[in-house]
Amino acid sequence: MSNIEDKKTFWQKLKAWVDGEEILLNADKYIATRTPKEHKSWKDRFSVTYVKENRKLYAILSVGISVLFIAIMLSVVNALPEFGSPYNPSNNEVMVRYLEKGIEETGAINFVAGMILDYRAFDTFGEANVLFLAVMCVVLLLKKDGKNFSRQEEQENAEDDYFDTTEERPILQIGAKILTPLVILYGIYVVLNGHLSPGGGFSGGSIIGAGFILYASAYGKKRMQRFFTFRTFTLICAAGLLTYFACKSYSFFTGSNHVGYEISKGVPGDIISAGFILPLNICVGLIVACTMYGFYALFTKGDI
C-alpha cells in the first residue's frame, strides 16, 4: 500500500473501499505498475505462504518442530507403561472377556475377528464405508467424463491398448496364467477362514484384488471387461455393503432391544460357524476385491 498517495481525498478513498473496489480508484493504472513485491503485503507476513517462500527458514522451522515433537514424545514414551508387561492398564477386564468368553459369545476362534466383527462391529462398519467412499471419490476424480480427459491421454490409452492386444509378453502372460488362479484361490481361502485363522475379509479381499490386477496387467483390460464392467463393480460393491448393512442393523437392533432370535453360533472351529462373521467376511472380501481392482483400473484407464 505504499503508492497510495495518488492525490485522492480521504473521502474518495473511503468511498471506493466501501464499494469493495481495489483500494485505489484508478485501479487499472495501479495494477499495471504494480510490482510483484506487492504480493508480500503485511497480511501475508504471518501466512504459511510467506514462510514457505523463505525456504531456509521454513526448513529449519519444520525440522525444529519435528525434533521438538520427537523429544516430547520420547519423554512420554519414557513415562508410559512398560512394554510387554502383563500388568499394564490395557490388559484389563475388557481383554479378558474378549479372550475367555469370545468363543462362546461370537463363535470365532480368531479373537481379533470376533472382536472387530461382533463386539466392536460399528467401527468396522464405518471402516467398510470409508473404503466405499474412497473408491467413489476416485471415480469422481478419475472416471472419464468428457471434461477431465485430454486428447493426449486418449492417445496414450490407445497406445497401451494396442500393446495389450498385440504385444507378446510370454513371461508375464505365462506367469500370470499360472499364478492368477493360485492367488485368487488363496485369497478366497483367507476370506473364508477369517474366523478360524489369521486374515479375514480385508486381507483376503486385497489378495483377490491383487490377483485381478495381475491378470489385467498381463492380458490387458479388454479381457477383464468381458466379465467385469463398471456396472458389475457398483453392483457388487453396493450389494456387499447392503448385506453388511442388513446383517449389522439386525444384530444391533436385536442386541440393544433384547428381542429377536439369536443366530446360531455353530460348532467353534467349523467353517460354517460364528454366526454373522462368515457372511460379513465374505461381503467385506467382495467389496475390497472390487475396490482394489477398481483403484487399479481407474488409475490406468480412467474407467473400469
Binding site: N110, V112, A113, F163, E167, V190, P198, G199, G200, F202, S203, S206, I207, G209, A210, I213, M292, F295, Y296, F299, T300
Partner: protein, 84 residues
C-alpha cells in the same frame, strides 16, 4: 532372545524412512517405501499379530505400491523405462 533381531528390523525401518526422505528420485523412494512395508509386515509377526502381518503384506507392500507406481507412470516419471 529375538530382541536383537527386532532391534535390527526397527533400525531398518528408521533407515528406510530416512531413505525415503533423502532420495531425490521418486522411483527409488517408492521402492524403499515398499521395503518399509515388507519390514513392517515382519515386525507385526514379532508382535504376535498375524492378522496385521497378512494385511500389511497384501496392502502396504502390494496394492499401495501398485497405486504409487501407476501414479508415477501417469505423471510420466517412468518415461523411457519401456521402449517401443
Amino acid at each position: 532372545m529375538s530382541t536383537g533381531i527386532q532391534i535390527i528390523l526397527l533400525a531398518f525401518l528408521v533407515a528406510c524412512a530416512l531413505g525415503v526422505s533423502f532420495t531425490p528420485n521418486l522411483f527409488i523412494a517408492v521402492i524403499i517405501f515398499m521395503g518399509y512395508s515388507s519390514i513392517m509386515a515382519v515386525i507385526w509377526l514379532f508382535l504376535e499379530s498375524p492378522d496385521l502381518a497378512i494385511t500389511e503384506a497384501a496392502v502396504g507392500a502390494g496394492v499401495d505400491s501398485v497405486l504409487f507406481f501407476l501414479t508415477l507412470k501417469k505423471v510420466h516419471f517412468l518415461k523411457g523405462t519401456r521402449e517401443g
